[in-house]
Symmetry: C2
Subunit: 189 residues, 2 copies
């Protein structure tokens, strides 16, 4: 489970509550490389606390629900340092849209183009989200390691989304020129 490692990393930047992890990190800053469900964040925090990786301070609030502000323990720091040096496997590919495209030859060009357009819109939106994140310029000598590395991760997110958009445009062009399917004999049961 490297959700716990992402959480450890985030809590080194600043002690936070589960709510802040969700809204100010997983939904925004790190969304391009790790997405997490609210309920899973809370459950993982509980487990990490049990395991002694984090502790929390309860901030009692009058007009709002109480906050549990989590931070790393010594064991949490040690585990993060260890994990950061461990070679990580590539993420496994699982893309429903490519399954559709691969097996979609019986669909009409029109239907295929609609699917392509849908994906294009979704990727364009994702790209726009990433591009709205202000990126620290490179070449600035005052730019610290942290922000340089952070910038690099964002650059990948943007590059991948651009790759998708280029490819989807190419798909649309190729499909538009494709002779329609001959579905006479299908399905052949």
């Amino acid at each position: 489970m490297s959700l716990s490692h992402a959480i450890l990393g985030l809590l080194t930047v600043m002690p936070m509550t589960g709510y802040e992890l969700k809204t100010q990190a997983f939904d925004t800053t790190v969304a391009h490389f790790w997405q997490a469900d609210q309920s899973q964040i809370y459950r993982t925090l509980s487990k990490m606390e049990e395991d002694g990786l984090v502790t929390y301070e309860l901030e009692v609030q009058a007009d709002r629900p109480n906050r549990k502000v989590y931070r790393l323990t010594a064991a949490g720091w040690a585990e993060l340092e260890r994990w950061l040096r461990t070679e990580q496997p590539l993420p496994t590919n699982r893309e429903p849209f490519l399954v559709q495209l691969f097996f979609g030859w019986r669909l009409t060009n029109e239907t295929l183009l609609e699917l392509v357009a849908g994906q294009r819109a979704a990727h364009a939106e994702r790209l726009a989200t990433y591009e709205r994140i202000p990126m620290p310029p490179l070449g600035d000598p005052s730019l610290d390691r942290m922000r340089t590395l952070w910038r690099l991760t964002l650059e990948l997110g943007i590059a991948i989304e651009r790759t998708y958009l280029d490819w989807l445009d190419r798909c649309a062009a190729v499909i538009a020129d494709l002779p329609e399917a001959d579905n006479e004999q299908d399905p052949q049961l």
Copy 2:
């Protein structure tokens, strides 16, 4: 669960056993967009059979374990056709290496460069695997819809891997020029 839909798609090409699905499809032809565990394939086939989406013929073999050759039922065809028209969500991003890079500013440049090199090797291998798959040329009028669409999915796989490689090279260059970390005050417990 769209593993079942990937299986439905694959079985339209040719009736197959679970073993063949694993070795001749998920580990090879469709590996760039869907990877599946052997045990999950068998369990999913069982469930799909229960649900009436597929049936199998038992091929009794003398010198080898018997084979269950699966093919679609009418309900399986209907479900595939329905699913193929349904808009699919973008895959969620979860990339352990980017978590490392993002939170790795306390590591030395050397350690970071080792991690980058490890990822580079893994992506280069993946790209080589994709490039070994013979890709039908475009512009061939005899090229059917199926192979054109299949080619497009492979092109994306290759484009994404090239994006990773370019980006990893850029990472290496940027990290090599980075002043080393000043870890005096860390970890700040």
